[in-house]
């Protein structure tokens, strides 16, 4: 019999029950603290085969804890590559979900599927940025087998070509440093094949642009130094702006905290764009590339800018929507990426 019941029985003898102790139902195994332990079984999503049975799982365990336990039995599948679902048709459970808040009985069944080898976002970002940096320089220095052999290791006689190399390199060095020291990336990982897809795109685009800008037959901008300067100023302005926004976004999040906050303008004038736009980091990035296009007057750069604009608009709209969903008092003046436009 339960200790509490025993005590109650004894207390009865002493005095009339002051606190009526409820008669414990003999459903759960008897423990002093009456923790209801869960039993968790993990099944393969496709074959429904029972992969693992865990008993005595704490009700306060998170999905991530369960993944860690699963990893112990199956070392190949580290938690980041596991997807656990309550039902084959529903979405994967988030790592933070707590077992006892899930709509399961005391025996919970999870369906496991393998997400494939995963890479951290940081790794992918770095790979995406190092490639263009190195590739562009290869074209700038006119390494062999790119242009006609008589141009190998020669240098362009146009000032704008040197300037473009500096700007392009600065952009990617800044990006690498930000990935290492500034960004706080909340998503854990992404599938391995993404790195091939993403890097392929960034690397090929950089090579394509670099080929033309550093080509011996490159034609300098139509409006000469004025145009180059205009492009340069736009580029630099937007690079500073982009960095300012990244700093603001970093300071929003305390390390380890999952609390989401609305970003607001600070004293830095470059952040005042937050009055009008949800994702000014994308706005400034677009501006940088427009500046670079004007500076180099190169169609491949313009096309790359256009594709970047489309992709970043998709991302910005998604982020804007999630802000609106998360915060009821979200500023209504803000657009997602272009003030008043989109």
């Amino acid at each position: 019999m339960d200790i509490l019941a025993l005590e109650a029985k004894n207390a009865n003898v002493a005095d009339a029950e002051k606190k009526p102790t409820p008669k414990p139902k003999a459903k759960q195994p008897k423990k002093a603290k009456r923790i209801v332990y869960f039993e968790v079984e993990i099944l393969d999503l496709k074959t429904k085969e029972k992969l693992l049975l865990l008993d005595k799982v704490e009700p306060t365990a998170t999905v991530l804890d369960i993944k860690a336990l699963f990893h112990k039995s199956y070392p190949k599948w580290y938690p980041a590559r596991q997807s656990l679902r309550l039902d084959p048709k529903t979405k994967s459970l988030r790592d933070e979900e707590v077992l006892q808040t899930l709509p399961v009985g005391t025996t919970a069944s999870f369906y496991f599927s393998d997400l494939g080898p995963q890479l951290t976002w940081g790794t992918v970002f770095l790979a995406e940025s190092v490639g263009p940096l190195v590739l562009y320089l290869m074209f700038y220095f006119r390494l062999p087998f790119i242009y006609s052999p008589k141009y190998d290791f020669t240098s362009s006689k146009h000032w704008v070509v040197h300037l473009a190399c500096m700007c392009h390199s600065f952009h990617y060095i800044k990006r690498i440093l930000e990935t290492l020291f500034v960004h706080r990336i909340s998503h854990g990982t992404m599938p391995l094949r993404n790195i091939f897809k993403n890097c392929g795109y960034y690397w090929c685009s950089a090579a394509w642009m670099a080929y033309y800008i550093n080509h011996p037959l490159y034609t300098t901008p139509l409006y000469g130094q004025q145009q180059v300067n205009a492009g340069l100023y736009i580029f630099l302005f937007c690079q500073v702006g982009n960095f300012s926004i990244h700093v603001v976004l970093r300071n929003l999040k305390q390390p380890g905290s999952k609390v989401k906050k609305i970003p607001y303008p600070t004293r830095n004038p470059f952040t005042w764009i937050f009055w009008l736009v949800s994702c000014p980091n994308y706005t400034y990035e677009l501006g940088s590339w427009i500046g670079f296009t004007v500076m180099t007057q190169c169609v491949p750069v313009a096309l790359f800018t256009l594709v970047a604009f489309i992709q970043m608009t998709v991302w910005a709209k998604g982020k804007h929507r999630s802000y609106l969903k998360e915060f009821r008092d979200y500023p209504t003046l803000r657009s997602s990426i272009l003030p008043f436009i989109v």
Binding site: Y212, I213, Y218, T219, Q297, V299
Partner: protein
């Protein structure tokens, strides 16, 4: 693909005609039926044109000229199918449909029309024939599906004829592109060279070679996808031997 003729959702109070959330509405279905009937008829015209020209000339060389105009018209008209997917009245992927239609339009205009010298090649007849038979079956398949009266024969034909027609078409296409290469290189067709103020260049000759190479990974994927579809669609109806 079949019309959702059943009234599923309750009509919103403000609407004149009840809007159905799932599948194309009655108006869209009517439009699609007309579209598919017109396309079936168009490709039949091309088929008949080919046969008549063959009979008249006594040989199968140079038949392209007898069906050049309807081929261009109806193959280009297929661009509407991308719109159908984008708008949602056809439940296919915009990307997949777009890719399929654009590759056909590319071959019709950017290769066969643009490079006169290949128009008398036999490879052109090869892919035109493959396209014609495929499209007649495909569009009649869609027409009957929309009207909910799909004869098993048409379904069978759609998922069987491709086994021969697809490789036949691909062969014709590749041979045609290959035949066009020397003329493109000689004339610099659609090509832009440096230096120019846009700092851009494009070599159509290299582009065509890359297109040909792209057939190597793409064709098997599409072919095996169709084979899998065949197993799924025809395999099931062997259990129920009734007309849909």
């Amino acid at each position: 693909m079949s019309a959702a003729a059943q009234g599923t959702s309750k009509a919103a109070h403000g609407d004149v005609a009840p809007k159905k959330k799932k599948g194309p509405g009655a108006l869209a279905t009517a439009y699609l039926v007309i579209y598919n009937v017109v396309m079936t008829a168009g490709w039949l015209v091309i088929a008949v044109g080919l046969v008549r020209a063959y009979v008249a000339r006594g040989s199968y060389h140079g038949l392209y000229y007898s069906i050049e105009k309807p081929l261009k018209f109806f193959q280009t008209g297929a661009l509407l199918e991308i719109l159908h997917c984008a708008v949602g009245i056809v439940p296919s992927s915009v990307v997949l449909t777009g890719f399929q239609v654009l590759s056909r339009v590319f071959l019709t205009w950017a290769v066969t029309h643009s490079v006169r010298e290949v128009q008398s090649e036999d490879s052109v007849l090869l892919f035109v024939t493959a396209w014609t038979v495929t499209e007649i079956i495909r569009y009649s398949f869609y027409t009957f599906s929309l009207l909910n009266h799909l004869p098993y024969l048409i379904k069978w034909a759609r998922y069987t004829f491709f086994i021969l027609l697809y490789p036949m078409g691909v062969t014709g296409e590749l041979l045609t592109i290959y035949a066009a290469l020397p003329y493109v290189q000689k004339t610099g067709l659609y090509s832009v060279t440096l230096p120019n103020k846009y700092n851009f260049s494009f070599d159509y000759y290299t582009f065509l070679i890359l297109i040909m190479i792209s057939y190597i990974p793409l064709f098997p994927q599409l072919y095996f996808h169709m084979l899998r579809q065949r197993k799924k669609v025809l395999g099931r109806t062997e259990d129920y031997s009734k007309v849909e």
